[in-house]
Amino acid sequence: MNPEKFSAKHVLWSRLLKSVLLWVALLAVITLPAVIAASSPLLAWRDPVYSASGFAGVLAMTLLLVQPLLVGGYLPGVRKLRGRITHRWMGAALLGAVVIHVGGLWITSPPDVVDALLLRSPTPFSLWGVIAMWTTVAAALLAVFRRRLRITMRTWRCVHALLVMSTVAASTAHALLIEGTMGTVSKVLLCALAISATCWAVIDLRSLSGITRWWRR
């Protein structure tokens, strides 16, 4: 038996196994919160619009985990370029989810949403939600007008990363303070993974190098 041949085959198989396991884990993490939310007893006492807006919120939180994984090219079988293109589409989907979330809540209870948007809501989690909404919108606008902004790629990345980090942090605070359809364990897990993935991507892609450069000057 040729040990070199065996070893090459072994590496190939272990790589395949690793990617399969990673995808299974990711799909589980993505679908679990939605499945738990779908089986929440609270849905029995909510109309379809309110239920849908809740689900849009869960989906948005899930996309916050997927986005850094895509842009960093960390998903097995998804190359960096493909990841980047998908990152843009998922960004649009995230914005859509936020619009459905806020719009659905507005239809359900206009005065509560107006209070939240005017920053006079009695509930602190509303404020975190509104902050996350605006940082998401800002990050998306920055992406849409990237070429027209005439800023260096380094600066663009830095600002985009800061906005995204604020979004993830504020969304986590928003989600954790709410008693909603998501299960506590799946919610904490999803938020922790979204924060970890975001930090990992920001460090790995050196997205904040603009700041360190400016600092050293």
Partner: protein
């Protein structure tokens, strides 16, 4: 050893002095408040009036019941119980959204200023299990100022909630 003993003695004496000051100060303040009849009015809470439907009927029970909303209504200043005051309540319950007409109902306070109304179980909505209560001057004799409250349940599993109103005379 000596150092530690001194330290503890100091600690104890300072602690005793603090406790004495707080107790004396507290008692003085309480006595003054009671003499002056300084019971402060309940301020309207932010978001308290959200989804309010003015003039809900006075009912024996809202919907099928199962949840008890109780409370007291007193006068600011001397804290006298206010009888026959109309309190309206609404919430997101197992039977409907806050904005739904069937989620609203009102009751009158007894001679001792207390009220109690059975309503459907309140469930978490817009992030937390909460209720809305109103004393609306326009639907009473207008001798007290309108107050809207938005109390939060300490646990969404609770089957009752107690709310206190202190109304300001006009």
């Amino acid at each position: 050893m000596n150092y530690r003993a001194t330290n503890r003695r100091q600690f104890l004496s300072v602690g005793a002095a603090t406790a004495g000051t707080v107790l004396f100060g507290g008692a003085t303040a309480f006595g003054a408040a009671a003499r002056a009849g300084n019971i402060a009015p309940t301020p309207t809470m932010r978001g308290g009036a959200n989804n309010y439907r003015p003039g809900a009927p006075i009912v024996e029970r809202i919907g099928g019941g199962g949840f008890w909303m109780s409370g007291t209504v007193r006068r600011a200043g001397d804290g006298a119980a206010l009888a026959g005051r109309r309190i309206q309540m609404w919430a997101h319950t197992t039977e409907g959204h806050e904005r739904d007409e069937r989620s609203h109902g009102a009751t009158l306070t007894d001679s001792d200023g207390s009220f109690r109304l059975e309503m459907p179980q309140i469930v978490p909505a817009f992030g937390q299990a909460h209720a809305h209560l109103a004393y609306d001057a326009e639907h009473d004799d207008s001798s007290f100022e309108t107050v809207f409250l938005r109390p939060i349940m300490s646990s969404s599993g609770d089957a009752s909630l107690h709310v206190e109103f202190v109304l300001q005379q006009v």
